[in-house]
């Protein structure tokens, strides 16, 4: 095939980008080379629209061992232990083929983690679907959940937490973000930087097939009516092979023969070989006839662009090939020496004794396009005045039941029961809590992780929304007694070529950055997923934040279930009555305008750190952060989990009952304490200038409001747990 401008455009490149390629090469590329450029220069691999803005994120900290730029981020958790973690999107493929799309998303992120030498110890996910009434939603949800479970369960890695949301803006573009945490010894972390000349380049894992060709390009474009035709670009997962690959790689990593290792993810052999060469400032020469292929007569173009799963590329110390091969033979995996490192600083490919590609590595990486896209600032919307008569006819209990049964609040047990969350024998907080928690095997330490997004807030005001998601992650970790350490972000947005979508991206990133900086909660890894749109309609801006924290003594972990009758329940943090953009305003009053709740970073940090102090002094029986649905929703969940009730009393504020109970002011928690500790607790709160309200006392089995209205916890439980099961069984 001869290459010309039209062929380049069909590969998703812009006219100007094609001209730049010809200039850089000083000739017209051949088809294999064009394929390589298109794979490296698409949005998914090159971050061409986002790089400029991502640079502003805080990425350093005392406990950060490795920030963005490697396969995953790495943090220090003491005693020579480190946690490797990252979140990644697999949105486009999951919409086209939900089972395989979600499964390979989970497989891909686990590979990113064990590539660095870490054994995966926990999986999480954040999934967003269209309106429950939309005709595709149910099947997509079922397929995605089966896919996530199918892969993670087979790998034997527990899925410990997650988040599921529904909103009509995802009708044509669902989101599937998968996160993995791995455990490694600090001196056994592996990187992707090649080093040394004439070192053997090794291919291990599954054979290469024709699946997933152009996967990364597909993920860098909007959907139109022809998406069904894109099914062949979805990769097919084989978790069994990945389990073998994991064990084989860790066995090889126990020795000292690996110089560099990189998994073949998006853009397969192309990006893995180029990244290793680029980081090592070297060249790589590959004989494509040596690549193990699953299908006959694959062309160099297909071999380079295949996204077949469960493959790794390794630069080995010379002379260690036999020893390494033995390990992969034992695990029945392919092992092939396919090339070597060179000093040419070029990627040189051979096939049937002909040179089929000859590209300087820097043209693909450093010279890749970077755009300063136009973007539009979002003004802070004006506050709504809630009319007193709108509230007059509302009965708190009815509203509460509706909110507890709302698809975005209701229990997601139907989902997480399908994930093995107890394998590995260290899961001490299961899904359904504020964070999932796993012990660091054989120690007293535990690692907490949660994943959050707040698309509604981000949509109403991206800057505030961006800050809010980071704060929510911070709170979810604190609520289980963990000290927040670092985050990973998965930035899901519409088209960067649209000024409004780009503005949402820029301002969310700014918000994330400001909050992360202030809370000393740096971003150590992440990914960007643009073009989550069908034709002209984009999703609500949805940054997902995965937070990781440490509990030094796992016996001090906190759960949210109420523990004991007569204990006292406090609200930490001030309730101002911010109702705009709350679940209450949007779903009960049907009011979709107004600003999201304001973020006060000082209070956020101070409230959180003070609560940690209380927890470390053994003064807290249970805790839960207050998020969508406000105080009463949060406390109801604590009641449901603990099979206990509460006598609630609204403190004497100026705001009315409805505002007090359903407002979504930020930086708040609910805690349960023993009566005998009340003074100690309030002393510490006062000393640290933390506002608190006494909310009530724990009772046997009723939610009793202001000694007037009541409802049994069983009734609330039914509201909370039945929606999803009913919906999925219809």
């Amino acid at each position: 095939m001869t290459v010309n401008e039209q062929v380049a455009i069909d590969h998703g490149l812009k006219k100007s980008e094609y001209t730049k390629i010809c200039e850089l090469l000083k000739r017209t590329p051949n088809i294999t080379e064009l394929g390589i450029f298109s794979a490296m220069w698409n949005e998914h691999c090159s971050y061409k629209s986002s790089r400029l803005h991502l640079k502003k994120l805080p990425t350093k900290g005392k406990q950060v061992i490795q920030g963005p730029g490697e396969n995953a981020g790495v943090i220090d958790i003491g005693d020579d232990d480190a946690i490797v973690f990252k979140i990644e999107s697999h949105n486009h493929p999951s919409f086209i083929e939900p089972y395989q799309g979600a499964a390979t998303g989970v497989g891909g992120i686990m590979r990113d983690v064990f590539t660095m030498g870490a054994r995966p110890i926990a999986n999480l996910n954040s999934i967003h679907f269209g309106s429950p009434q939309h005709k595709k939603t149910k099947n997509l949800l079922r397929g995605v959940v089966h896919g996530i479970g199918g892969y993670g369960n087979c790998m034997g890695v527990p899925t410990i937490a997650g988040q599921t949301n529904f909103d009509s803006s995802y009708n044509g573009n669902i989101l599937v973000n998968a996160m993995t945490l791995g455990l490694v010894k600090k001196d056994k972390i592996f990187y992707s930087k090649a080093a040394g000349l004439n070192k053997p380049v090794i291919y291990v894992g599954s054979k290469t097939g024709r699946d997933g060709i152009h996967g990364a390009s597909m993920a860098s474009a909007s959907f139109d009516e022809k998406i069904e035709e894109k099914k062949p670009t979805v990769q097919v997962g084989d978790p069994f092979t990945e389990k073998l690959l994991l064990e084989a790689c860790l066995e090889l990593m126990a020795g000292d023969s690996i110089i560099a290792i990189q998994d073949m993810g998006a853009a397969g052999l192309t990006s893995s070989s180029i990244e290793m060469a680029s980081k090592g400032n070297l060249g790589i020469e590959i004989n494509l006839n040596k690549v193990p292929c699953r299908e006959a007569k694959m062309t160099p173009y297909e071999i380079m662009l295949s996204e077949s799963q469960e493959r790794m590329l390794i630069v080995l110390e010379s002379g260690k090939e036999e020893q390494a091969k033995k390990i992969f033979d034992k695990w029945n995996l392919d092992f092939a020496v396919i090339g070597k490192t060179t000093k040419s600083k070029k990627i040189e490919l051979y096939f049937d004794n002909d040179q089929v590609a000859d590209i300087p590595v820097n043209t693909l990486v450093e010279n890749s396009p970077m755009y300063d896209r136009k973007w539009k600032k979002t003004k802070l919307p004006k506050k709504n005045k809630i009319k007193k008569e709108d509230l007059k006819n509302l009965k708190i209990i009815d509203v509460l039941k509706k909110i507890l049964a709302n698809p975005n609040v209701c229990s997601k047990e139907w989902i997480w029961q399908q994930y093995d969350h107890t394998v590995m024998g260290d899961t001490i907080q299961k899904p359904g809590g504020d964070s999932g928690v796993v012990r660091v095997h054989g120690t007293d330490k535990a690692v907490a992780a949660s994943v959050d997004s707040s698309a509604v807030y981000c949509w109403a005001h991206p800057l505030t929304g961006g800050k809010q998601v980071v704060c929510e992650s911070f709170r979810n970790l604190i609520s289980v007694g963990a000290k927040p350490i670092a985050i990973t972000n998965c930035l899901n947005f519409g088209s960067p070529e649209n000024e409004e979508n780009m503005g949402e991206f820029v301002e969310c990133v700014q918000g994330i950055g400001e909050a992360a900086e202030y809370l000393k909660f740096p971003v150590v890894s992440g990914n960007v997923s643009f073009y989550n749109q069908t034709k002209d309609e984009g999703i609500k801006p949805t940054p997902s934040i995965g937070g990781v924290g440490l509990i030094k003594d796992y016996k001090k972990m906190i759960t949210m279930d109420l523990k004991e009758v007569n204990n006292i329940v406090l609200v930490i943090g001030k309730t101002e009555g911010h109702v705009d953009q709350s679940l209450f305003a949007r779903n009960i009053l049907d009011e979709k305008n107004g600003p999201p709740p304001e973020i006060n970073l000082f209070n956020e940090k101070n409230n959180g750190e003070t609560l940690l102090k209380l927890i470390n002094n053994d003064l807290v029986q249970s805790a839960h952060d207050i998020s969508v649905g406000g105080i009463i929703t949060a406390v109801s969940k604590m009641c449901i989990k603990g099979n206990k009730g509460i006598n609630l009393k609204k403190p004497k504020y100026l705001i009315n009952e409805i505002e007090y109970f359903f407002a979504e002011d930020q930086g708040r928690y609910i805690i349960e304490i023993s009566k005998k500790d009340l003074k100690k607790v309030t002393d510490i709160l006062n000393k640290n200038a933390v506002h608190f309200d006494e909310l009530g006392t724990v009772n046997e089995n009723e939610l009793f409001i202001n000694e007037k209205t009541k409802v049994t916890i069983d009734e609330l439980k039914t509201s909370n747990t039945s929606w999803l099961t009913k919906y999925m069984s219809k």
């Binding site: 069994f240 389990k243 029961q417 399908q418 107890t422 001490i428």
Partner: protein
């Protein structure tokens, strides 16, 4: 007491079982599926997981692997062999215990705590356990036990049912059956009661911080019975 845990390609509860056995006093060895001989053992465990990806039928390929000849000889000469989850599926495929394990009734993977009632205590596994009901944990996609009417009669006549799914009070009604198993069967013995296959994972219930501690009861009792 010496135990052996077999690791097949795709096993993923082998380490958890190793941790549990050692915690309760076994000297445990991990044995690779491609080995020919079992080390000297008082107990052999086939752990949970997805042996060979469970691609043909759950447990079917593992039942033909090299070490299984030795495991079968050991079982047939009276040796204690326990299969958990995928291990149970492997035992069924070898014919060491009767019946088959089908996909769960609602076609979904289930991971949760369940209660099981001990049906038969006249054997080395459950002898001397005070409790009649244990809280265990299941995590499987194919745990729906099935057998023919004739087989069922034989199993019941020989008292081969080990445990049934039930509620916390020991009621074994259909509503407490998580996966559609015939007669709520969660685990069965061979005729001689030296081979036990069960879907629940006692190794995940060995610590108050985990899902519960009834697994500790089970393992403590087991090692004492073996002594």
């Amino acid at each position: 007491m010496k135990s052996s845990v077999i690791t097949f390609p795709g096993s993923n509860c082998d380490r958890d079982m190793d941790v549990a056995l050692k915690k309760f006093g076994f000297k445990n060895k991990m044995v690779w599926h491609d080995d020919a001989e079992l080390p000297k053992s008082d107990l052999v465990v086939l752990p949970g997981g997805f042996s060979y990806g469970d691609y043909l039928r759950c447990g079917s390929m593992a039942s033909k692997s090299k070490i299984m000849k030795s495991v079968m000889n050991f079982a047939n000469s009276g040796g204690m062999v326990m299969g958990i989850c995928n291990g149970f599926q492997i035992l069924v495929e070898t014919g060491l215990v009767p019946g088959v394990l089908l996909r769960n009734k609602y076609l979904e993977f289930i991971c949760k705590n369940v209660f099981v009632k001990i049906k038969n205590k006249k054997n080395t596994y459950f002898k001397n356990i005070d409790n009649d009901v244990l809280e265990f944990h299941i995590a499987h996609n194919e745990g729906n036990y099935f057998c023919t009417k004739d087989q069922l009669k034989e199993i019941e006549d020989n008292e081969q049912v080990a445990i049934n799914y039930c509620d916390k009070d020991g009621k074994t009604e259909e509503q407490f059956n998580p996966n559609g198993s015939i007669k709520n069967i969660a685990g069965i013995f061979n005729k001689e009661k030296n081979v036990l296959g069960m879907m629940p994972h006692p190794e995940r219930m060995i610590d108050p911080s985990l899902s519960g501690e009834d697994g500790s009861l089970f393992f403590n009792n087991l090692i004492n019975n073996l002594k």
